[in-house]
Every structure is written in structure tokens, then in C-alpha cells.
């Protein structure tokens, strides 16, 4: 089976800094793949390379068997790839519903306005924004804006979603609700590539995990194996005892 998304030897430098270097990994259909690593490891750069915001210096990105390297973001979106940003990017003057309509109109399914309205309403309700449909996006709380990012990406009817720290800045109750939403999105058959710093959450959510350090892949595997990898413990977690604690947490 060919993977849904395939990165081959992806490399990107900014001036003298190699943000991503020779990175290869794949996301399979219906999979939740966690992308973790310390700050500055190059995680968000990887997302920008996949979604076409940056062009790689070297390497290829293949999505559903199509080479999408160097395609602009709006073309990538049309192939069925949707993204939720780490720093929320609402269309501030539009309502929640209109924000989602933009996603639905210009996503993979290229819906008409009327059908986009339906898809938008459905996805806004799905993430729990049903009471905020007419609220201008600028007036949402940070948790609301994170949900909006998710709803807008979902409205596009994607086959793969890139989620960049959608749990950051949320309180524990909100994290709980959000992880539930993410699981239900996967339940619809949508694959997810997720960047997250909340270890407990991502260890619990992911089928597999790729660890990035200084732009390179440090480890890849199921959460338990990654958490036990000595290289990961030293480079990423820094302290073996912390890894031990995390390991126990992931099991319970």
C-alpha cells in the first residue's frame, strides 16, 4: 500500500540554519501520526513545506500518489489537505460560519456557496461551536479560535489534516474535549499529522510518533518504543527519570 503522504529527503535552510535536513517519513491512511521534538526542531517548518507555504531546497512531497512539491498552498488544499495553525489565523471580521464556508468552498470538494453553508454548519457543530455560528471570529476566546481552526479545516472535507499545536494554551478540560474531537475526526476516516508539546495527550492519541531534533529525524515508532528510545530520552527529554514517569503515565 502506498502511504497517503510521503516526505522524501526533505531539506530546508534559512540562511545558515538548516531547519529541516534530509527528513523522510510517511503518513498512512486513517493514521494519527504525532510529530514531536524540542522547540526549534523544525516541526512547523515541516508543516509549511508540506502545505506549500515554503518551498524545500531539496526533496519531494507526495500526497495521494501526486507530487505536490513546490505547489502553492491553494493547490495543495485542493488535493484534500487541510491545516490548523499553531498561531490561530481566523478571518477576523467573518462569522464562525463564514470562516468555515471559506474552508468548504475552496477545499477538495469545491462546493457551491449553498452546499458550503451546510458543510460549514456541520463541521462547526462537530467541534462544538454550535452556539457561536454567527459570532465574528475575532470575538472568540483562544479555545474557541482553536476550535475554529479545526472546524474550518474539517469543513474542507480533507483526507489528511495537519494539526499544529491545537492543544497549546488550553486548560485541562478543554484539552480533554479537543482530544475527543480529534479522535472523532479520525473516526470519520481522516488521517491526522499532529504536532504537540503536551506529551500525555500526544502519546495517548498517536498511532505512531516521529521525533525531530535539529531538523533531523531522531526516532520513529509506536509511542511506547519512542518513549523508551535512549536517543530520544537524552536529546529530547533530557532526563531519563522524566521519560520513566512519562512512560508510566502513557500506560495508565
Amino acid at each position: 500500500m502506498t502511504p497517503l503522504l510521503e516526505l522524501v529527503d526533505l531539506t530546508k535552510s534559512f540562511g545558515g540554519v538548516k531547519a529541516v535536513s534530509g527528513l523522510s517519513f510517511a503518513v498512512n491512511e486513517r493514521e494519527i501520526l504525532g510529530l514531536i521534538g524540542p522547540n526549534g526542531a523544525g516541526k512547523s517548518t515541516v508543516f509549511n513545506l508540506i502545505s506549500g507555504v515554503f518551498r524545500p531546497d531539496r526533496g519531494r512531497v507526495r500526497f495521494r500518489g501526486i507530487d505536490i512539491t513546490n505547489q502553492p498552498p491553494y493547490r495543495v488544499a485542493r488535493h484534500g489537505l487541510a491545516r490548523a495553525h499553531q498561531i490561530v489565523q481566523p478571518l477576523p471580521l467573518m462569522s464562525v460560519l463564514e470562516n468555515c464556508m471559506v474552508g468548504a468552498c475552496f477545499g477538495q470538494e469545491n462546493l457551491s456557496l449553498a452546499r458550503a453553508r451546510e458543510a460549514a454548519r456541520e463541521s462547526a457543530v462537530f467541534v462544538g461551536l454550535e452556539e457561536r455560528l454567527a459570532t465574528p471570529a475575532a470575538q472568540l476566546t483562544i479555545a474557541g479560535k482553536k476550535r475554529l481552526e479545526l472546524a474550518r479545516a474539517l469543513a474542507a472535507g480533507p483526507v489528511l489534516m495537519l494539526l499544529d499545536e491545537v492543544l497549546a494554551g488550553l486548560n485541562p478540560t478543554e484539552v480533554e474535549r479537543m482530544t475527543d474531537v480529534i479522535r472523532r475526526i479520525r473516526g470519520r476516516g481522516i488521517a491526522i499529522l499532529i504536532i504537540e508539546h503536551l506529551m500525555q495527550a500526544i502519546m495517548g492519541l498517536s498511532d505512531r510518533i516521529v521525533v525531530l531534533n535539529a531538523g533531523q529525524k531522531l526516532a520513529e515508532g509506536v509511542p511506547e518504543a519512542v518513549a523508551n528510545d535512549p536517543a530520544v530520552i537524552v536529546a529530547y527529554l533530557g532526563d531519563p527519570a522524566a521519560a520513566e514517569a512519562l512512560h508510566r503515565e502513557a500506560r495508565t
Binding site: 491553494y74 491545516r83 489565523q89 481566523p90 467573518m94 471559506v102 474552508g103 468552498c105 475552496f106 477545499g107
Partner: protein, 322 residues
């Protein structure tokens, strides 16, 4: 036609009817001339609004469409002996195409750089025309009075051109409205509010921006063609007058950018104000100073303009006066 059920469709129809009926009933030529100018301002402002209010791009040189349209139309009538009925649409189409090509180039720029480039386009075109001998260079092109004969003589021709200009104004308002309630309009609004996010969401930003720029050239070019046909005279300094471009900006900001009603009311109010300033003893020589001051006051204190303020106070009116 779902548009027929919307109140705003009928509001536009009423405005057009008022423009057509008022000067005829009163049989008042000076009222007609004043309304003619208002119709031109409304055309310029509502098309500028497509770029400024919808897509969020400041086009300081929008007058280049009006001037180029004027030149193409006058040239086709004068030298190629085309009838007005063909020359005016031809002006619209050719200027739109030119704008599309320019747009693909300069719309790579954003913010202040784009605004500067639009001034550059206007000044560049003006410099070109000044040295382009088929268009009469710096001294321009004249039409003989006999040109009005096919329309039944000068008196009748002035009325016909007035009705045509009002028609172009009406089309501008309907075009703004049709775009606003379309998928294209949703994409432009997304670009206007956060272009990077819009692109990630799948809005084809370069194509949409160039299309908006090109569409916003079409009706002003026809309007310019009619206007300079009526004057029977066109020269570069009149056709590419940056002052008029700036006035169009003031109008859109005054009425409320992004709103159709705002562009129309702003244009009408501004035309009245301008007429009063030009005939007053105190302000006659510096009416543009007053527009400058007006723009400053709006930007500082009422950034949403008249309609922005009204929509803020009475949100329900958003659905009536779009």
C-alpha cells in the same frame, strides 16, 4: 433568481430610477450635469471598492482605467469611425485585459508597495500616452461636433450619454452586489482579512486578485469612454488625474469600505460637497485640501466610514443596506 428576493436589489433599482426620472421631470440641465458627475463618482468608487473594500488592496491609481477607457473609445470613434455603441464596450474589454496582465505582475506586491505600484502604473501610462502620437501626444484628441449627429444632435446626445452613464453606474452597483454574495466575493473577503490563511484554505489568491483588479477596470473604462465622448476632448492630464483617484479613495473611506451602499452614498455626498466647495468663495481653490482633511478625520476617528458606523450601531441593517 434569489437576488430578486433581497431588499438591496430593489434599493439599487430605486436609485437608478431616481437618477433617470429626476432630471427629466424637472427638465433641469444643471441638475443633470451634477447627477452625471455623481454617477461617474459612484461608478469609480464602487469599482475601486472591489479592490479596496473587498480584497483589501489599496489602488491609488484606479483612475488609469477611466483614462485609458476614454482614450480607447475616443480613438476608435475619431480615427476608426466606430459607433459609440461599439467603441465604449471595446474600451471596457481592452482595458480589462490590460489590467489583468498588469494585475498578475503588481499584485505580487502587498501593502504600501502595491499602493505605490498602482501610482506607478498610472504615471507610466500617462507618460506613454503623452509621447504616443496616434493618440495626439500631450495635446490629446478632439472630436468634431458632427460626431453627435448619429445620436440626433448635441442636445439629444448629452441626454443619451447621461442615461448611459447612469446605466453604467447601475451595472457597477449590481456587479458589486453580485460579487459580494458569490463564492468569488467570499474568496476576496478572505484575502482581504488574512491573505496567507486564505491561501492555505484553498483560495487561489493570485488568480482572484488579478481577476478583481481586471473586473474593477471594466465599467470605469466604459464610463471614461462615455465621459470623454461627451466632452469631445481628451488629454493626458485630464484622463490620468491622480487627484480624481484620491477623491475615489476618500469617497470609499467616507461611505465605508467594503459596503456597496457606502460607496454610493459617499460618492453622492462627496459630489455635493465638492460642488459646494468649488462655488464657495473661501474654498474654491483648495477643495482637495478639504478632501485630504476629510480622509484624515475618517481614518482616525471612523475607520469603518458612514456604513461601518451604521452597521455597528444597528447590525440588522447589514442585511438591508449591504
Amino acid at each position: 433568481m434569489t437576488m430578486l428576493r433581497r431588499p438591496f436589489f430593489w434599493i439599487i433599482a430605486l436609485v437608478i430610477a431616481a437618477f433617470v426620472v429626476a432630471p427629466v421631470v424637472e427638465n433641469d440641465v444643471s441638475m443633470r450635469e451634477s447627477l452625471l458627475l455623481a454617477a461617474v463618482y459612484i461608478t469609480l468608487a464602487s469599482n475601486l471598492n472591489l479592490m479596496l473594500g473587498y480584497a483589501g488592496y489599496i489602488n491609488f491609481g484606479s483612475i488609469v482605467f477611466f483614462g485609458l477607457g476614454g482614450y480607447v473609445c475616443v480613438y476608435l470613434i475619431n480615427t476608426q469611425a466606430w459607433p459609440l455603441a461599439l467603441a465604449a464596450p471595446a474600451a471596457g474589454i481592452s482595458v480589462s485585459l490590460i489590467a489583468f496582465v498588469f494585475g498578475l505582475g503588481i499584485l505580487r506586491l502587498r501593502g504600501a508597495y502595491f499602493a505605490l505600484a498602482t501610482i506607478g502604473v498610472n504615471e507610466g501610462v500617462q507618460a506613454f500616452v503623452q509621447n504616443f502620437s496616434p493618440w495626439g501626444g500631450a495635446s490629446g484628441l478632439y472630436l468634431p461636433v458632427s460626431i453627435f449627429q448619429p445620436l440626433g444632435g448635441p442636445m439629444r446626445a448629452l441626454w443619451i450619454v447621461y442615461f448611459l452613464l447612469v446605466g453604467v453606474m447601475g451595472l457597477s452597483l449590481y456587479l458589486s452586489y453580485a460579487i459580494k454574495v458569490s463564492k468569488f466575493g467570499l474568496g476576496l473577503a478572505a484575502i482581504g482579512q488574512n491573505e496567507d490563511a486564505a491561501a492555505v484554505l484553498g483560495v487561489p489568491t493570485p488568480r482572484y486578485k488579478a481577476l478583481a483588479y481586471s473586473v474593477s477596470a471594466f465599467l470605469p473604462a466604459i464610463s471614461g469612454g462615455l465621459y470623454f465622448f461627451k466632452s469631445a476632448f481628451i488629454q493626458p492630464t485630464d484622463a490620468f488625474d491622480l487627484g480624481l483617484s484620491t477623491e475615489a479613495m476618500v469617497i470609499v473611506m467616507l461611505g465605508g469600505q467594503g459596503t456597496i451602499t457606502g460607496a454610493a452614498i459617499g460618492a453622492y455626498l462627496y459630489e455635493e460637497l465638492r460642488g459646494w466647495l468649488l462655488t464657495s468663495d473661501t474654498f474654491a481653490n483648495f477643495q482637495l485640501v478639504v478632501s485630504g482633511a476629510l480622509l484624515l478625520i475618517i481614518v482616525l476617528f471612523v475607520p469603518g466610514g458612514l456604513m461601518g458606523w451604521i452597521h455597528g450601531r444597528w447590525p440588522r441593517l447589514k442585511r438591508v443596506f449591504e
